[in-house]
Symmetry: C2
């Protein structure tokens, strides 16, 4: 039912936007109602707006502020924590059409862009200038830079090159009341005032709407080479990781696959994986002499008891090694296809201190057994960041319940090992309760205070990150 107040604010909203920037049909409102997170409720937006200019975003926020209407900023909805899920009656503010590169500055190794550009499009554009934007989440092809910044996204090569936060120099945001706020800088270094820029990284649209970003870039990385080692136990793989780190190696990827994911990929026919492996380690190096570095690392893996070690001799073999990691999700989907009902894969995101990886993997295996669930675990071993993936039938209430319980058990185990409830996917709705278990009450109180400073009436992505 559309009330009189709704009509008046929607009229005001429409009045400042081109007709093609407004979607009101039920199908569009449903399509823009949620991101890619399961277990996270989503409401029905009253309207979806797709502005193309900063002035239009300001108009949206001014109108929302005047009428007290909640606004949910959105990128490509690839997020996995429900941070972009709509509230009933809200304005969904999609930044997808603000997707331009505003400036590429090779001399200063930086790029200025709008938030709606995809990570892929940005990476491709800067590569033409000999430059490299490292953050490489799995959704690279479709996720937006604004979304990457909003959640603090990571990826495979972060173990060497750092995460999104490490590349954000400056931002421009539209605040809850429609005012524009530039922050940060265009210089490499700078410490002028409180660092609002990094307060916005990971704030999931709760403090303001990011409408522009200045990102640092690196020179294109040297060609890489990869290797793969299989182990009889997670503990042996953990020992190999410990030795690699202790020797001072900084690989450009250091990925761990548990027994379940190793088996699933082996079943898909990958030649380097064996069905008797309980853990697989994939190492990529891109230094000046990756072959030599990989040879050292291969030795360390053997010393830690590797069953089999395959070092790529060339780019083609290297690609085949990395394919094993890439095949994990397809392998999960193949497993799911054999299950009854409507199976879905829920990708988790927990980080523990690197040295706690092996015990954490063993605990996840026990949790899978206890809740009778198919859980495969892969992750960025170099960062201690794991992605346990639960495959379950979402139409089966019992399986759904067991999946939720297993998720809780995994979070609790991660925290007990000194970890964090999210390494790179964010809090959103999904982990709001768990945030309270991770963070100290005084810390949370200060976070709520900061939220009030930026959004006193609470219209910006309400209920996300903090309640």
């Amino acid at each position: 039912m559309t009330t009189q107040t709704e009509v008046s604010w929607m009229g005001a909203l429409r009045a400042g936007l081109p007709a093609d920037a407004v979607l009101e049909d039920a199908a569009s409102r449903a399509a823009y109602s949620r991101d890619s997170a399961p277990f996270s409720p989503a409401g029905e937006p009253a309207i979806v707006v797709l502005p193309t200019t900063v002035a239009e975003v300001q108009h949206v926020m001014r109108t929302a502020h005047a009428f007290g209407v909640p606004v949910v900023p959105q990128g490509a909805r690839t997020g996995l924590a429900g941070a972009a899920n709509a509230d009933d009656g809200c304005i969904v503010l999609s930044l997808l059409r603000m997707n331009r590169i505003l400036e590429i500055d090779p001399g200063n190794r930086l790029v200025r862009c709008e938030p709606g550009i995809t990570n892929r499009a940005l990476s491709d554009a800067v590569r033409e200038h000999g430059l490299f934007f490292p953050p490489d989440p799995a959704s690279t092809d479709t996720c937006t830079i604004g979304g990457n910044i909003a959640v603090g996204a990571g990826g495979l090569c972060c173990v060497k090159y750092g995460v999104t936060a490490d590349y954000v120099l400056g931002l421009v945001a539209v605040l809850a009341d429609g005012r524009l706020m530039p922050m940060g800088r265009t210089t490499v270094k700078g410490v002028a005032g409180y660092d609002l820029t990094h307060l916005f990284v990971g704030s999931e649209g709760t403090l303001g709407v990011i409408v522009e970003a200045v990102l640092a870039l690196r020179p294109i990385r040297p060609p890489s080479l990869a290797m793969l080692a299989t182990f009889g136990t997670a503990t042996a793989a953990g020992e190999a990781i410990a030795r690699i780190i202790a020797e001072g190696h900084v690989p450009s990827a250091l990925e761990l696959m548990d027994k379940t994911s190793s088996h699933a990929v082996a079943e898909l026919g990958h030649p380097m994986l064996s069905a008797d492996a309980s853990a697989t380690l994939i190492v990529e190096c891109d230094g000046n002499d990756p072959a030599n570095e990989l040879a050292s690392i291969a030795g360390l893996c053997r010393g830690a008891g590797a069953l089999q070690v395959t070092v790529a001799a060339d780019q083609a073999e290297s690609k085949s090694v990395l394919e094993a990691r890439r095949l994990v999700l397809p392998a999960m989907q193949a497993q799911a296809a054999r299950m009854p009902g409507r199976p879905t894969a829920f990708i988790e995101d927990v980080a523990v201190p690197r040295t706690k990886l092996a015990p954490f993997i063993d605990q996840i295996a026990s949790i899978a057994e206890k809740y009778r669930l198919y859980i495969s675990t892969v992750g960025h071993a170099g960062d201690g960041n794991l992605h346990p993936t639960v495959v379950f039938d979402k139409d089966d209430p019992d399986a759904f319940k067991r999946a939720q319980d297993a998720y809780d058990a995994i979070m609790a185990a991660g925290l007990a090992l000194g970890g964090t409830i999210t390494g790179e996917h964010g809090v959103g709705i999904l982990k709001r309760d768990w945030l309270r278990r991770e963070l100290d009450p005084v810390n949370l109180e200060m976070q709520r205070g900061i939220k009030r400073i930026f959004d006193p009436t609470g219209i910006l992505n309400p209920g996300k990150v903090l309640e």
Copy 2:
């Protein structure tokens, strides 16, 4: 004059501290009254406290909060912006005696420490475990880690390894009311909630008192090699820098010395510097094959019109190259010694986009001429971060005035080139007015709001960063 209220709060303060943690004599109060910044007023503290435990820091803040007494947290007072300068009647809270390393964790490449440990002591301690803490401000031997974090310190090798902010994973702070607030994490990655940790980096003791830090470390860097090139103009040196960057090199130091500093060091007798040089570039590389990388860079310098290029063949020559940069301050002091009166050297800190370095250096030279001042400029060329150093007689009111005017002119020129008023020294008192010229009013309003959340009664380092 000591009032009754003072007596009562000082009694309460003393009651919770060991006798040796309290200094009340005039000499001590004077000694702890200011950091190393000129042009910045300092008051007389009522008392200096040097706690050794977190509980004692909490007692100090609880007492200050109860009685409304301002507190100025302090490290080694090597700061150059007056951020640690006392207010009249304040409590100076020196963290110098909280200088323990609490944990070195080689497996997770991190260290947990108290704030009062010196950068040198921390670096030496972790080196024994094969680890490297990169931030290397000029005051490394004496400055504290807490101070490094509070100002967001940098250094020479930041061009490759990043600044202090890049290494701070987690902090524990005592808030204005004495409550303890842990923030951040011990994992490599983590995005759970707003990033309070990096809000504290660079906040100069205005949001809370840092009592513990968890810092990320790197493996010990490979041996380095250095080269030196002289140029006829700053523009030619700027062109060389541009070519080095454009070719994708990432040196571990890329330092520029202007005409004045080149001449001063040549006069001290450094064999590689010539009196006809208008700019000197020092490049250090520490990759897998530094000799080869330096050979390429030497070629780029020659192509940009270098007068003379000296590539170190071994560690001894490399040391001599780097000595040229290290000699800048002694050379300035030698120049100062020849001046009449009580000459002092004021080290400035401005950062511009890397490509604006050459015009900025030329503008600084014009400013020196206009104000008839001896200004030498050196800096971290790879970061665009320059340190113009004004040598003047502080007893000469006219020279003092001209030095202040030149300082203002340099700030204005840096901002006009798209730069920032501070790359790594902070805002303190010195640059508070300039902060208002750099930052947008909405941004400043939000910063003030954040300050109010953490310190509602304004007792924590009042008047620093923001007014």
